[in-house]
């Protein structure tokens, strides 16, 4: 199958997932038959405003968050040469969550806005994890990296949990946000996310060659005249920024960055130039499907997106961890 056909199939799958995410819901007057009409024609009906004001923002945010997180995961796996790496395993997700939790609890500590706080948290957590595991020098012990990341994550989450105990109203807010409940997002939140996704995609594509060379090993990389440290630094920074932006908008969605690059590698091979667009599409598709499921699991009640992703991703991580013997 040629590359173009595979991309087209994947894009079609993403569109179907997006339609599902738009159509599924407790209203009976929104269905596959009239969804396009409702989206593009303003007939002033309640169904129209449900689709445009409530469901569309959520679908957009789900897709964009998925793309961002998947790209971040791919960058981290390339940078660490570790198939288990991803933003939730390395504690970056939880660090971003801590940044947001601090900003929400102590507004006077807020720097610029929530996005920036989340990105600062993500960078700090990533830096800590990499430092513990041996720095960006290339002698990264793969299992130690994961354990360091999990510990940094546990530490950050203990701090986030601490904010639960401060005040009841705050705890409800933080809890719904930690479980990545995106049912109340606004259209305005999709704009910045789209910008980050576009920048992330472009930056990833620029780094693709570097990622490919990095996968050959540090020696080969230096032999080809590419400084591996530079690619590593830029890749990790990119991952932290994409994660921070997503977490600020939707909360810490776990495991997307782990699962999507793995699945895409099976279908698109190891070349990062081909992989990057596929991973962005795949991430969007997976989270859109998870969003659709989040409305179906306990219909008509909703289950937050983060919970669905954790239920899918955690068993996958276990299988990957068991099979990780070869890499160690």
């Amino acid at each position: 199958m040629s590359l173009a056909v595979r991309y087209a199939l994947l894009a079609a799958a993403v569109l179907i997932a997006a339609l599902l995410s738009l159509v599924i819901g407790p209203r009976s007057d929104v269905g596959l038959g009239n969804i396009l009409h409702l989206l593009f024609v303003d007939d002033g009906s309640l169904a129209r405003s449900t689709v445009v004001d409530l469901r569309l923002p959520r679908t957009l945010v789900a897709g964009l968050v998925g793309a961002n997180l998947a790209l971040a995961g791919l960058a981290l796996q390339a940078v660490t040469r570790n198939p288990l790496a991803s933003e939730s395993i390395l504690g970056i997700n939880q660090g971003a969550a801590l940044g947001v939790a601090i900003a929400v609890t102590v507004p006077s500590l807020m720097i610029v806005n929530l996005d920036v706080m989340a990105i600062i948290g993500a960078i700090a957590a990533g830096f800590l994890t990499f430092t513990i595991a041996g720095g960006l020098t290339g002698r990264l012990d793969s299992i130690r990296l994961v354990l360091a990341g999990v510990t940094v994550g546990a530490f950050s989450f203990a701090c986030v949990r601490f904010t639960f105990t401060l005040e009841d109203n705050l705890s409800r807010l933080v809890l719904s946000w930690v479980s990545a409940d995106i049912s109340a997002v606004r259209l305005a939140q999709a704009g910045p996310l789209a910008l980050w996704a576009a920048l992330g995609l472009a930056a990833s594509l620029l780094l693709a060659q570097g990622f490919n060379i990095l996968s050959l090993g540090d020696g080969a990389s230096q032999g080809l005249g590419v400084d591996p440290r530079r690619t590593r630094f830029l890749g990790a920074l990119l991952a932290a920024i994409l994660t921070g932006a997503s977490v600020a908008a939707a909360g810490p969605v776990m495991f997307v960055g782990l699962v999507v690059p793995h699945l895409c590698r099976l279908w698109f091979g190891q070349n990062h130039r081909h992989l990057i667009p596929a991973v962005a599409l795949g991430g969007a598709g997976l989270v859109l499907l998870a969003d659709a499921m989040s409305k179906l699991v306990r219909f008509p009640y909703e289950t937050p997106l983060g919970t669905i992703c954790a239920l899918i991703g955690a068993p996958y991580f276990l299988i990957a961890a068991i099979r990780a013997r070869r890499m160690a």
Binding site: L84, I132, D141, I143, R144, V146, L147, A148, V150, T151, V152, A154, F155, A158, C159, R161, F162, F164, T165, L166, R172, L175, S179, R298, Y301, T303, P304, G306, T307, A310, L311, G313, A314, P315, F317, L318, A320, A321, I322, A324, R325, A328
Partner: protein, 343 residues
């Protein structure tokens, strides 16, 4: 070395060990006494003593006897149990990174306990230790099965444990999120490892099992010494390694699970206490087990007391505090063991 010198040395070591154990016991008692006094209502020491020993003078019977004393007794029990569990697990797996939390016991116990509270609300709470034990055994069973079938490095075993923990935790999250606000609040506080709102009932339902299990742990001390020598040596010395390992891990799992059932998830105590105790007293389990138990008691009592003392009337969960101290400790252990393995 001559016989008398050996005996003298052993006597010296025993005396030092007894001093350490006595010192730890005194410290734990002092910490418990201090912890009785702190909180939303600060109570001076003389009032505490008056209340405890029913002396004349000012008393605070309600707060101390109904609220603080049971939770401190529980803190002592849970801390001791987690520490014993961690000591046994580290000996059996011969892995300094191992602890009840890291091989998934905490999450397994938490899932079954939360599941029971939410799915079977009519079942009395006294069944919680049983449900938690089942969960702990399930999680530990999965981890040990994987570890048994492939010879794993210390770090890789920890990785599998973490992954199993993630699976069970995602289940816990699902239960919490899908339950109503009222059902959720109790398990939520409980899950962060809080001793808030504990009564004598909790003490009653866990005291007997924990006491029996602690006794079993002490009986296992000599066999734990043997098993740390390695499988071949232990077998050569007449130990049925496979069977003993199963018994030891079951005791350790049950100790941790029952304590999770009553105080919730308190990570890293089972990691820190054995390390601190081993650093003080060395590897012989006859002395290590009691000292580790005391250290565990001290840590949890302090975590609980400090959590109440930081900003009364707000309480910071003991589990959160122990994670804040324990996570850096885990990193420290990981870094030092990794450098040992390299040399």
């Amino acid at each position: 070395m001559t016989g008398t010198a050996t005996v003298a040395l052993r006597r010296h070591r025993d005396r030092r060990a007894l001093l350490l154990i006595g010192g730890a016991a005194v410290l734990t008692l002092l910490a418990a006494l201090w912890s009785l006094g702190v909180g939303a209502v600060a109570i001076p020491v003389d009032v505490i003593v008056n209340t405890l020993f029913n002396l004349d003078g000012e008393k605070q019977t309600y707060i101390i006897m109904r609220s603080r004393l049971p939770r401190i007794v529980l803190a002592l029990m849970a801390g001791g149990a987690l520490a014993l569990s961690g000591t046994i697990i580290q000996a059996v797996i011969r892995n300094p990174l191992a602890s009840p939390g890291i091989i998934g016991i905490n999450s397994g116990a938490a899932l079954f306990a939360v599941g029971m509270t939410i799915l079977l609300p009519t079942v009395p709470q006294t069944w919680l230790p049983l449900a938690a034990s089942l969960g702990g055994l399930t999680a530990a069973g999965i981890v040990m099965l994987v570890a048994h079938r492939r010879l794993l490095s210390a770090a890789h075993l920890a990785l599998i444990g973490v992954a199993v923990g993630f699976v069970f935790e995602s289940g816990v999250d699902y239960f919490l999120i899908t339950s109503s606000d009222a059902e959720r609040s109790a398990p939520l506080i409980w899950l962060t490892g809080s001793l808030w709102g504990r009564t004598w009932d909790h003490v009653g339902m866990s005291l007997a099992p924990l006491a029996v299990l602690a006794g079993m742990a002490m009986v296992l001390a000599y066999r734990l010494d043997l098993i740390t020598l390695g499988e071949a040596t232990a077998t050569g010395l007449g130990l049925d390694v496979g069977r003993q390992r199963l018994i030891m891990l079951s005791v350790a799992t049950l100790l941790a699970s029952v304590s999770v059932a009553v105080v919730g998830v308190m990570g890293f105590i089972g990691l820190m206490a054995p390390h601190i105790a081993r650093h003080l007293i060395g590897g012989g389990h006859r002395l290590l087990l009691p000292l580790a138990m005391l250290v565990g008691m001290l840590l949890v009592t302090l975590a609980d007391g400090v959590g109440r003392a930081i900003a009364p009337p707000i309480e910071v969960s003991a589990g959160i505090l122990s994670a804040l101290i324990g996570a850096p400790f885990f990193v420290y252990v990981m870094l030092t063991t990794a450098s040992e393995q390299e040399t």
